[in-house]
């Protein structure tokens, strides 16, 4: 059997207490919430923090707060709960879709939205959807706090700009403009408990139901060390009238925007082809949603 190494355990009820602990212990401590990542890696011996600081009992981290045209989600909200909020289903359907395909019901009942972000796994399910809606992260320290765009957050696998003394407290998303649609498709081997072979999140905003594309984001996942924008594909969409032909062309550009590798889950050639296939599919679905279909 796999055994957990020994560690000290803290369970603060207040954010201030958690921040105090982290500023004292810094890199020797690790924050834990659902534990679906931290505990597994500790059992495997990949990490061995001296202390764990559990933030799951801090109530202010587990709510969803709509205010002044933004939706602010507490980082400690478990993924299953995320899918139960009407506001998420209605205003951020792309995030709802991504949350629904994360892991399995067991994992979704433990894993948190914050954990899925800060662990910075290249194939994590929530970041592509959050990048597609231009999410911002609130990082809180003992003395100061800052807001960082999710676009600037990831450095590489397991690496982000968060400091050891900071805690991700909220995920903030501006309410999306009208005539916006999005979609997230994850291609895995199975229909549950999957890590993506390739995943794509697309989101477009039209200037009117039958107008041109005002804004577009295409996020490719599991084809680079972190979720990336399909840069040339996004550019090619802007100001254009959305058509199947355009999406076909853009899908090919997206395939060129990434640099997949061959690994245990799939070959590079297949992955590149799937980027094109999923880009097209997600754009078609996004368009339908934008038009209110």
């Amino acid at each position: 059997m796999l055994l957990l190494p020994k560690f000290d355990y803290y369970e603060p009820r207040e954010m201030s207490e958690a921040l105090k602990l982290m500023s004292k212990m810094k890199t020797s401590a690790k924050i834990i919430a659902g534990g679906t990542d931290v505990l597994v890696n500790m059992k495997k011996g990949l990490i061995s923090p001296k202390s764990l600081v559990n933030v799951a009992r801090i109530s202010e981290l587990s709510d969803v707060e709509p205010s002044n045209g933004t939706i602010s989600i507490g980082s400690g909200l478990i993924v299953e709960k995320l899918t139960e909020f009407d506001i998420i289903k209605k205003k951020l359907p792309i995030l709802f879709k991504a949350a629904r395909v994360l892991g399995s019901p067991l994992v979704r009942n433990r894993a948190t939205i914050g954990g899925n972000i800060v662990t910075a796994r290249p194939a994590a399910d929530l970041p592509p959807a959050l990048l597609a809606v231009d999410a911002k992260l609130k990082l809180v320290g003992a003395k100061s706090s800052r807001e960082v765009s999710l676009d600037k957050f990831f450095i590489g696998p397991g690496q982000t700009v968060i400091k050891p003394t900071e805690i991700l407290s909220r995920i903030i998303i501006k309410e999306l403009p009208p005539f916006t649609g999005g979609d997230y498709i994850k291609l895995g081997h199975r229909n549950a408990l999957e890590i993506a072979i390739v995943a794509v999140a697309s989101r477009i905003t039209l200037d009117s139901p039958d107008g041109v594309i005002k804004e577009a984001r295409i996020i490719l996942s599991a084809v680079a060390p972190k979720a990336i924008h399909a840069v040339s594909a996004e550019k090619a969409l802007k100001g254009e009238k959305p058509t199947a032909k355009l999406f076909e062309k853009v899908a090919k550009l997206a395939a060129g925007d990434c640099a997949p590798i061959t690994d245990i889950r799939g070959g590079a050639e297949y992955r590149r082809a799937m980027v094109a296939a999923l880009t097209k599919k997600t754009l078609m679905n996004a368009l339908n949603e934008a038009k209110g279909k």
């Binding site: 199975r190 408990l193 799937m274």
Partner: protein, 783 residues
Amino acid sequence: MKEFNVINSRVPRVDARAKVTGDARYTADLSMPNMLYGALLQSPHAHAKILNIDTSAAKKLIGVKEVVTAKEASPIKFGLSPARYDEMMFCMEKVRYVGDEIAAVAAVDPDTAMEAISLIKVDYEELPAYFNIFDAMKEGAMLIHDDYPGNINAEVHQEFGNVEEAFKQCDYIRTDKFVNKKQDGAFIEPQACLANYDMDGNLILYSSTQAPHYVQRILSMVLNVPIGKVRVVKPYVGGGFGPKASASTLELTACFLSMKTGRPVKMVFNREQVFMHSRARHQFFHELTTGVKKDGTLVALKNTCYLDGGAYSSFGIATIYYAGSLLGAPYKLPNMKYDGYRVCTNTPTCGAQRGHGGVAARAAWEQQLDIIAEELKMDPVEFRLKNIMQRGDVTCNDFNMSSLGMKECLEAVRDGSEWGKKKGKLPKGKGIGVACGFFVSGAGYPIYRSDTFHSTAMIKLSEDGGTADLYTASAEIGQGSDTILSMIAAEAMGIRYENVKIHSGDTDFGVDLGAYSSRQTLMSGHAVKMAGEDVKRQVLGVLSNTLKIPIEDMDIKDGFIIFKKGNVDFSGLRSYYIKEHRGWTDQPAGDKLTFKEAARIAYLEKGVVVGGGAYKPGELGGKYKGATVGTSPAYGCSAQVVEVTVDMETGKITVDNMTDAHDCGFAINRTNVEGQMQGSLSMGLGEALFEEVKFDPNGKVANATLGEYRIPTALDMPNVKTIIVESDEPNGPFGAKEVGEGAIMPTIPAILNAVYDAVGVRINELPITSERIFMALKDKEKK
């Protein structure tokens, strides 16, 4: 139609409550006072000489009670088939795969044991390692075992009829190749055991095993403990599927450490160790050549197979035979030739897994038969029906189909799936496929040469007559044998299911070869039925004396005595019982004499009311070399129709519907039969679409977790229509035969054939991942 009170029903499993409430204790849940924890040191190299082992630092660690290596352990070799005993408890001179066992530690807790393992220093000299059969067979390749020249572990050459001559009569002949991947058993419960050797020299091993009997024999042989002093007990087991059907180093080590320390020793595999130990499905490279006449008559089959067996023999000698002998049937095929080669590689050892040896062969052939049907412009169902075997037919390799509902199964899935409305009429991307298969219902011979009974059973009635205690050494591993045997016992005695209390999985309870080769319903079932009938005879015998009624004028049904010639005055007997039974609450009432009363009277007369049964198959099958593998008292068979959707853009396959018909002879428990069918289909679906053990460049398993080794989830399983076919097997108890393994046979080829129907590409390599489909579609486009 026969009338039954217990069997052929849907009574709940005897272990349902314990399992649902979490009350069921599995081996890893057990503990004993003063217990130590064992841990294994396993090789990080795939092939290396052991130059030196230094255990001094481990021995010094506080809390460590014993450290053992090959130096201390028994040098006696063991394995599965006596002809190929090639394993030792610990490696002596070299290691042969990543995971090969080198040393073990017993310590006061698991952490200390693990730490001690890390303190053992081994000097290795790495040797060339071979991770596939082609490298291992190359000229000049280093031998993995000195006894296997060319690294060929075993060869089989059989011919029935005359294949070359027969091909000359054929109008159409084609050759196809097929390869699967190494599997993992992926049972939920990793192997675990707890050994206790006491001061009187008794050795008890609690183990998560499918075959307590074989484990008992190997423990006795290797550890040199008289077999009468070795007891193997199987607690609840969370699945086996084949890999748990033999003794392992884990079990031997726990026993050895207990003998050295005089304390109980517990050992548990983690998931990675399960993958390294493996003993699961081999990799098979088949080349099949089949010849037919233009009217669709099957004439001849030539089958060549290379098996990647991994580091040791394990079940492999049986596997290599099965890879040949399980073709031919269920079709009339007069000529069949087989050449098999099992090759050793520096990878985990392969063994038996559900559908032992025949699953890849069946997938390859049923796909080829589909291609042939298409070439002949025949409907695949019609083509199969034209060649179908029926009850009483004997195969060219002397398998007697004493019952065979193959035709009924095929017709049932054809009609049940609305084949006629769908075949050839589905839109692109949607497809339908069919396949058949058969399997043994218990190996006709034990794995070692012996005239032993294969199963014994004993039933003892309680003093009050209310309970029948059934003792059997059979192994309930989740498949439901405890339920089936309790039902058979109840039916044979004429009492109610809830009045049978089963005690199983313990070598002290008798002899039973265990849960493998789909044998327990037929073989253990026979022994239990005999024991039940014996008890019934004894009770009626006493009753006959007491009431002065001939035995043949009485019967027992549903817990009551039946007087065939009308009412009998048993009031004297009842008052006697009530007097005897005073102080207890459950006094008999009503106008019928209960079994309980009769059994109490029998007890008062005899003191001990025990019935016994013992079963071994009679003379069976052919006399050629290897005839013992595949020969069985009966054969189960099944047919399946699978419907799929293939996403043409991603290659992703969705299995939409499965229709499965299985001939189990007679369903003792209908729900359990359907459960076995569903389980087989799920396992076959996983093997077809997802499962593959992968290795890193050093031969270490790269996906030794259930996260990266993918078995189907509930969301991957379609709705399954299960159809039970009952052909009344003359050699089975109440006409019953297997369902546990045979049902997996058609699953993979039915999926393959459905995928072809959907997208027009044939895949000759498992698993059929979306990537493999996509690439095949792309290749087809280019052409």
